[in-house]
Subunit: 231 residues, 2 copies
DNA sequence: CCGCTCATTTATCAAACTATAAATTAGAGC
DNA sequence: GCTCTAATTTATAGTTTGATAAATGAGCGG
């Protein structure tokens, strides 16, 4: 048992604005992830051990604080090295994609990342849209191009990537994210060995993607030829 | 332009409790799906064209109304015929599973179903957990059993289904649900031809699942043999 | 150790929240 | 038509919300 302190004895260290701001942002990430974006500023302040009006000295409004949270969680955690990895032809595209998804999933599969992402989506924010556009343009598009190459199929320049091919990418991506959804959104137990789950999913995907892409390309080419014949 | 009505001329049909209750429940489903479960009873009443206290004549509290919404959307939309379909050996298990997922996804891939499901999950409700347990026990378990059979692998009675095999099922399931997530939670455009997307995903899954299950079973058997040798 | 800056708190507002009690009135049964 | 049940509204209590203004006091520079 600790010695009883004098009343009101809690030490109140005065902080530099920079330090206090960091504490608020980090506290806000944990707080809004847990209770949702409708969480109340009073409750957040209580958890931070400060008063609620102090929040408004650092952020003009609750929405501004939320913007800052998005920036911190989604923009700052994006790794430019991912794009380089995809382009590295010293590995097979299957292996490159496997390594990318492994690190990517490790990055996003957190309580904070997933719960705030879904809360923002439900709220109607354009955050998920902007974020997934980036994934599609910077990752999926080059991956599909490399797969076309490795399977001996026409390059995207010769035969544009079709929606179905993108859906294949979103499919495996979604299958992997779904593990995190079950864990952090649905509060379910998922197998402890995430790597094993990951590899199993990825094996099944890589085993199936080649034949399906071949078929899709063949269908596209048939459409093209039919069109040419007509004109 | 319509003729100006007399003031207060809006006709106020008095409804039977049963009818009014239906209107409230259906309005509540649409309302909470759109604005989230924190949506306010006043706003809901306004949309229904009734006053807010009237809601409390039909439901003792907001939480009771929400419970009713869950029941209506999740329990009432479950189709017992799904379980029969899976058991029907006049079709290959691949075809049975394809047909199940096609109808299942058509059932759940709605604005209401998905958005309320995720809101409830974020809120901490056990709804997603209970619901997915049902899917696992009534669908995934028999499907995996049938697949073992069709691939000439040991039955689940001989060699229990392992977590990895369940993850394969959750994987394809998640890949398909992810289409709905992108559409209704993230507010993104997804390809208009849902059936084509669906078939592409399912083709890739069915092409890959056989080999992977064989490998998983072989690994399990190796573990079993090693254990037997030890004892 | 004095004074001033500014980090932080107290006090408070106006609006919006769930929920309840009492007053109203539509409409079925006679 | 009269009456009475109950569907519905008005009025309102009691909290809680995001946000602001004014008061306080910690701690640095001198």
């Amino acid at each position: 048992m600790t010695k009883p302190r004098k009343t009101k004895s809690v030490p109140k260290p005065r902080m530099s604005p920079a330090h206090r701001e960091r504490l608020i942002v980090e506290g806000a990430i944990a707080f809004f992830a847990e209770v949702g974006l409708e969480g109340q500023t009073r409750e957040l302040a209580k958890r931070l051990g400060i008063t609620q009006p102090l929040l408004y000295r650092y952020f003009p409004s609750k929405d501004d604080l939320l913007e800052r949270v998005y920036e911190e969680v989604y923009l700052k955690r994006w790794k430019p090295e991912w794009e380089a990895l995809i382009a590295d032809r010293s590995l097979s595209i299957g292996e490159r994609f496997r390594r990318f998804e492994k690190d990517y999933q490790r990055t996003i599969m957190t309580y904070d990342w997933l719960r705030i992402f879904f809360s923002a989506g439900l709220k109607g924010t354009d955050l998920p849209g902007r974020y997934l556009s980036r994934v599609r343009d910077l990752i999926f598009t080059p991956v599909l191009g490399e797969m076309r190459r490795e399977f001996g199929l026409p390059s995207p320049a010769q035969l544009p990537l079709c929606a179905q091919e993108y859906e294949l990418m979103f499919g495996i991506h979604g299958a992997l994210v779904y593990v995190g959804i079950r864990r952090f959104i649905y509060n379910l137990d998922v197998p402890t060995d995430q790597n094993l789950v990951f590899d199993t999913e990825m094996d099944a995907f890589l085993a199936g993607v080649g034949p399906v892409m071949r078929r899709l390309v063949a269908e596209q080419q048939a459409v093209q030829r039919a069109r040419k014949r007509k004109s």
